[in-house]
């Protein structure tokens, strides 16, 4: 029984969905951790990335690379639309705008009037063919007890490769003078301005870059599931991504990746554990059906509170650095 739980947890922790979330988290870390931008609508970037990829392929019969480019372009456009009116204002305005915009996008894609393009609530399918055609893995079962299918393995390796590559890029960017300007904006944007830095431009670059990472997250997500539906993009996705960033260590290069793996390991392990306990009859009814999800969220919430109390800097963060924040 413990084995089953452990394998379930591991399967989720390294699976393609986790890789997609890792991409969201890496982008969010660039926004929130390094630039101090409060983007509460990262899921919106995930959505436009996903639909940007799926619509040209599934609806208009374009090849996958066209979908990839539209996905990126859609993320850039969303960042420009959100950033232009808000990045000159206080941080809160971006937060309000992004969370609202992400929900508006979800409702728009659900709407029956957009059914021809987005497939409405039913969403779209059959856009991932090209992606799996280039998979180097012949059909079969992989990774021993984890029992990954060839497709799942390919999506996983692709997703994590992109996530790790982008994390490396962020790491190097943050060690460049460009990164130094981002940090200074996080610390005090008026100081950055007084030294001749075009704060608006840098914030916009950060928003676009992190948003495109979120868009990639959406693409990996929908490619791995081979379907896209509006309700995959609920607001809590953003907050899960925030949780992963903070869990791993805000403003650290590897933190978002570590946080993502840990988050999925915990939440899936707990779910699987509770289910196993219910099945063995120790906890009848209490955690049956829907309640499994709810009860795991309660436990995860409790664990997060404990983390904030005992290790507020996350797994990899620097406690000294955090203490300086209290001015």
């Amino acid at each position: 029984m413990i084995e089953t739980v452990l394998f379930d947890a591991l399967r989720a922790a390294i699976g393609p969905t986790a890789a997609a979330y890792a991409l969201l988290a890496v982008g969010l870390n660039l926004h929130f951790g390094y630039t101090g931008l409060l983007n509460f609508g990262q899921v919106g970037f995930m959505l436009v990335g996903g639909y940007g990829l799926a619509i040209p392929v599934a609806v208009y019969g374009q090849p996958l690379w066209v979908g990839l480019l539209t996905g990126i372009a859609a993320s850039v456009v969303l960042a420009l639309l959100l950033g232009a009116p808000t990045l000159r204002l206080r941080a809160d305005y971006l937060a309000i705008t992004t969370i609202a915009a992400a929900e508006i996008l979800r409702f728009l894609s659900r709407n029956s009037s957009s059914e021809d393009v987005t497939g409405g609530v039913y969403g779209l399918r059959q856009f991932a063919g090209d992606f799996y055609d280039v998979s180097p893995f012949p059909p079969g079962q992989y990774l021993g007890p984890l029992a990954f299918s060839a497709n799942r393995l390919w999506a996983m390796i692709f997703g994590w490769a992109v996530a790790i590559l982008l994390s490396l890029a962020v790491h190097r960017l943050m060690r460049s003078p460009w990164g130094r300007v981002l940090l200074s904006i996080r610390e005090d944007e008026d100081a950055a301005r007084s030294l001749g830095k075009n704060v608006f431009l840098y914030k916009m670059q950060s928003l676009i870059l992190g948003g495109v990472f979120g868009g990639f997250g959406g693409m990996v997500f929908v490619l791995s599931l081979q379907t896209i539906q509006p309700d995959m993009f609920l607001p809590q996705v953003t907050f899960f991504a925030f949780t992963m960033v903070i869990l791993g260590g805000t403003a650290t290069a590897v933190g978002p990746l570590v946080g993502t793996v840990l988050f999925w390991f915990l939440i899936t392990g707990l779910q699987s554990g509770v289910r196993a306990v219910v099945e063995s009859g120790i906890l009848p009814d209490v955690a049956a059906g829907q309640a499994v999800g709810a009860s795991t969220l309660i436990v995860v919430g409790g664990l997060l509170m404990a983390l904030m109390v005992f290790r507020p800097q996350g797994i990899l963060g620097d406690r000294e650095e955090l203490r300086l924040d209290v001015r």
Partner: protein
């Protein structure tokens, strides 16, 4: 300005301003900053209403005035951190009226803040290196190509290290700026502003909250800006001893207007200035040292 001139700074008008009339808005022989009709109101309060003001190049100009006189607001307006209701001003002959704060700094007019803005979670060295103007590596397109900016970065580091030594912060170079004391933060901010290579430095209360020992060294640094590097300095200060010690010229604001200007000693006995500082100082040869309570003992 020759290097052996600082002794003349002890309150006497020096060189170019010797023959200039001591009246508000007077024209100077070589102004670097010319302000015309700048007004800014907050609600019904007219915070700044400067008809005409010229700042002489290469000298230290002190900006004084009671609390609420509009000194910091004027700073904010001139450096692009606030927008005036009306008015124009030129810096080095070019209009700066609608330039944003970063553009003002790039033109060579750099300010510091009354409440110091140390970038807490960056090291002291990083704070300084940020100041470097026109860095190639600050462009996103080149940030990943470290070959393109490695040499520039190294030169910048050297310049920063020299400034750290000069400002006696070199032992803190790898510490987070958030760990610095109040006085050290003032030093850091001044050093960081110098990294931009400004021709005009605007210091907003550089001595506030600094202990007396450090005040002397800060004063020395301000004089150095003029004497060693030929920069123009405008500073806001409440401590009259400081103002008299280092200013070549003093401008007094009250209720947003320039009510008097002249060499420090003339200002100290100016009727309008004494009135502005409330009657308490009548009969003395200069306004009393007025330190608002929040500055006292803050060092």
């Amino acid at each position: 300005m020759s290097a052996d001139a600082p002794s003349a700074a002890a309150g006497r008008p020096i060189g170019p301003l010797a023959g200039v009339a001591r009246e508000p808005g007077v024209a100077k022989p070589d102004p670097v900053l010319v302000v015309d009709g700048v007004r800014r109101s907050f609600g019904g309060v007219r915070a700044v209403d400067v008809a005409h003001l010229e700042i002489q190049r290469g000298l230290i100009t002190g900006l004084i005035g009671p609390n609420g006189a509009g000194k910091t607001t004027l700073f904010n307006l001139l450096t692009g951190f606030d927008t005036p209701d009306a008015g124009t001003w030129t810096f080095d002959g070019e209009s700066l009226g609608d330039a944003s704060a970063y553009a003002v700094a790039r033109r060579g007019m750099v300010r510091t803040f009354q409440l110091t803005k140390a970038l807490s979670r960056m090291t002291v060295l990083e704070n300084l290196m940020l100041g470097g103007a026109g860095q190639t590596g600050e462009r996103l397109s080149l940030a990943l190509v470290s070959r393109a900016w490695r040499a520039e970065e190294e030169a910048l580091r050297q310049r920063a290290e020299e400034l750290l030594v000069r400002f006696k912060l070199d032992h803190m170079r790898d510490q987070f700026a958030g760990t610095l004391s109040g006085g050290q933060r003032k030093l850091l901010e001044m050093a960081r502003a110098l990294m931009v290579e400004p021709s005009l430095v605007m210091l907003d209360e550089p001595m506030a909250g600094v202990n007396p020992a450090l005040t002397q060294s800060l004063l020395g640094h301000v004089k150095d800006l003029r004497d060693r590097e030929g920069r123009t300095v405008v500073f806001v200060e409440h401590d009259m001893d400081v103002v008299f010690d280092i200013s070549d010229w003093v401008v007094c604001l009250a209720e947003g207007r320039v009510i008097a200007e002249g060499p420090p000693e003339a200002i100290g006995s100016d009727e309008a200035v004494i009135d502005a500082y409330l009657g308490a100082s009548h009969g003395r040869d200069r306004p009393p040292r007025r330190r608002p309570p929040h500055e006292r003992g803050a060092a």
